[in-house]
């Protein structure tokens, strides 16, 4: 599984490692270059001094340093150098060289050439310059020769001069530098790694805290809000909020389901108790056939109530499953309302209810599903008939306003919940009692009606126009 922490660590580690190595290498190369340059410069200087100290005098080549003449005698004393007379093949060594030989070389065409050399038994590593030099001809010597009719040309006396210097101190310095740089790189790398590790850990801590919170909530209480870590980074806040709202929705659904199951099992308990009681009673002693028949009839009645109840409950479980989509066709709402009112007129009379109906002046044709619309309207009328106190008035109004077709049913009602939305909860009943007919007020009519209205892109809402009054409004968008 990819891990942010590991990825960050690896990437930062590689970055720091590359940076540090490049830096160290550059430092090493620069210092090495500087040291070599310095060394070469000093060899060149020594070589030029030594070249200047070779003179032609009294018919032979003399080396000033041999006579302790000239300047820089300390250089000639310490330096390692050797001359080869190309003409005579004679060689002259510096005192420091003792009897050892330096390698004989020069650059192309006698120009100065620099090389790393080693002298057997003396220096393993040395830096040397090799070049061809010619002796210096003193002016007075030249004049004297001319007088004798001879021409002297320094070119006739070519020498190869090789000057060497021990490279060991430079190499030691470079090795020391390399060691320091390597150790420094490794230590800096480790320190950087530790710092980055801690930085990553502290940056990721809010994620861990959030995870713990979420885990705790999912394990224990889905209904409680997440306690967000103190300083939640701005990158995480939206995630936490979406998670919180997701969990809240899950909790709401769970609680609705719990309520539904509780209500459903509650609804089932009484008929089952009745069935059990009736059979137990019938079997409690020997009875006349007619009496058994009576008990069996009671059982049959209770079973059919139970069957109706279960049917309604399964209808309820299908709500919102989109298995039954709405078929929208042009409908005259006023016509459907009139026919429903006709069906209910006897019930309204029996309940001593006065009905005031406000129809629109022109017909209202809208796009709706005839079955769903009839379901909603019948349910609203049924509710009004069932819950209005006898002698009260039910006001029904159908009109078009703000691009919507509205049907409102208002009536007096007692026992209303504080939150009217609860009326639409499955199995919620205003009255705490059960009615004797399992087909009627099971507390799912309004839920079904609301779902039906929403399936037609409309809605069904409840408002409280005045204390002790309720108004249901069924709205559909105008075509």
């Amino acid at each position: 599984m990819p891990s942010i922490r590991r990825t960050l660590l690896i990437r930062c580690g590689i970055g720091i490692g590359l940076l540090l190595s490049t830096l160290s290498l550059s430092v090493y190369v620069m210092v090495r270059h500087g040291l070599y340059e310095e060394m070469d410069q000093s060899i060149v200087e020594t070589a030029s001094i030594l070249a200047n100290q070779m003179e032609y005098e009294d018919g032979g080549i003399i080396f000033e340093w041999e006579e302790g003449l000239g300047t820089n005698s300390d250089i000639s004393d310490q330096a390692l150098f050797q001359y080869w007379n190309e003409k005579s093949g004679l060689t002259t060594r510096s005192p420091a060289l003792g009897g050892d030989d330096l390698p004989r070389f020069s650059g192309p065409d006698g120009s100065p050439g620099l090389e790393n050399i080693s002298v057997q038994g003396r220096f393993e590593h040395a830096r040397a310059i090799g070049l061809v030099i010619y002796p210096y001809l003193l002016p007075e010597e030249n004049l004297a020769m001319k007088r004798e009719g001879k021409t002297l040309d320094p070119k006739d006396y070519p020498h190869i001069l090789v000057v060497a210097r021990d490279l060991t101190p430079v190499l030691r310095t470079l090795a020391y530098l390399a060691a320091i740089l390597s150790i420094g790189t490794v230590l800096t790398f480790i320190a950087g790694f530790v710092i980055i590790h801690r930085a990553i850990r502290s940056s990721l801590r809010p994620i861990d805290e959030l995870t713990a919170q979420v885990r705790n909530r999912s394990e224990n209480q889905l209904d409680s809000a997440i306690v967000l870590p103190g300083a939640l980074p701005s990158e995480l806040a939206p995630l936490a909020e979406s998670f919180d709202s997701l969990l809240s929705r899950v909790a709401a659904i769970r609680s609705r389901e719990r309520d539904f199951i509780r209500h459903a099992s509650h609804e089932l308990r009484t008929p089952i108790a009745s069935l059990a009681a009736t059979t137990e009673l019938a079997l409690s002693k020997d009875r006349e056939a007619a009496e058994y028949k009576r008990h069996l009839e009671a059982c049959a009645k209770t079973s059919s109530d139970l069957a109706a109840l279960v049917q309604r409950l399964s209808a309820l479980s299908r709500i919102g499953s989109k298995s039954e989509p709405a078929h929208l066709v042009p409908l005259d709402l006023a016509e459907i309302l009139r026919s429903s009112l006709e069906n209910f007129s006897r019930r309204f009379d029996a309940c001593d209810l006065s009905i005031i109906v406000g129809f629109p002046e022109s017909s209202i044709t809208t796009l709706a599903d005839p079955v769903f619309t009839a379901l909603v309207i019948n349910n609203l009328l049924d509710n009004a008939a069932s819950y209005s106190p006898p002698g009260s008035t039910v006001s029904i109004r159908l009109h078009r306003s703000d691009g919507r077709d509205l049907l409102s049913v208002s009536n007096a009602a007692t026992d209303l919940p504080g939150d009217l939305d609860r009326l639409f909860e499955p199995l919620f009943r205003r009255d705490t009692s059960r009615t004797e007919n399992a087909d009627s007020h099971l507390g799912i009519g309004l839920t079904l009606s609301q779902e039906a209205a929403q399936a037609m892109h409309g809605n069904l809402t409840a408002t409280r126009p005045a204390e002790g009054m309720i108004r249901f409004t069924f709205s559909l968008p105008c075509p």
């Binding site: 099992s265 108790a273 009745s274 009673l281 705490t432 059960r434």
Partner: protein, 223 residues
Amino acid sequence: MRLLIIEDHVILRDSLVQFFREASFIVDSTGAGDEGLWYATEHPYDVVLLDLMLPGIDGMEILRRLRKKQIAVFILVISARDGLEDRLEALNSGADDYLVKPFPMAEALARIHALLRRKYAKKDTLIRIGDLTLDPLKRSVHRAGQAVELTAQEYRLLEYLAFRTGEVVSRTDIWEHVFADSTGGNSNVADVYVGYLRKKLNTGDLPNLIHTRRGLGFVLESA
């Protein structure tokens, strides 16, 4: 013993009524909360079976009102609500016992008998007065080891007197707890049934256990 059943599910109520009548109880019943409250307030019941979800006044409210009026009747709540909070609320509002629907009738009967034993301070399930033994669960009566056959009405009277052993029981109490029509009171029906009982219990030389207290009533005790 007199029972009141307040339950709005008609079939369940009818079954309960018949079952308890067959178990020798005098049973009144109603499906409405307000009517039930009136019955329980105006009549001396031994036990009330009370459903919680009722039209009119709900069961919980009936409980509270009865207890507020200091009516010390024993109340057995029968409800479909099985949550702990529902049971606690009912018991804390004054219910003596709680039975979740559906329940076996035998359990309801056993709980009612337990409530009766509590009401009349009886620990033993058998009631013994001298050589008379009465078993309320089996509804059987033995005198000196011999079974005594009684009619339902005679049994009810003996059971009531037995539960109140040693106490003087007034004719009004007998009338209210033993006879189905509790509107009378001046009738001498109680004396008639006490006579029947004495005849059936005092066979041979067995001593009389039901004594008349002139102007007060009757007492069941061994001499």
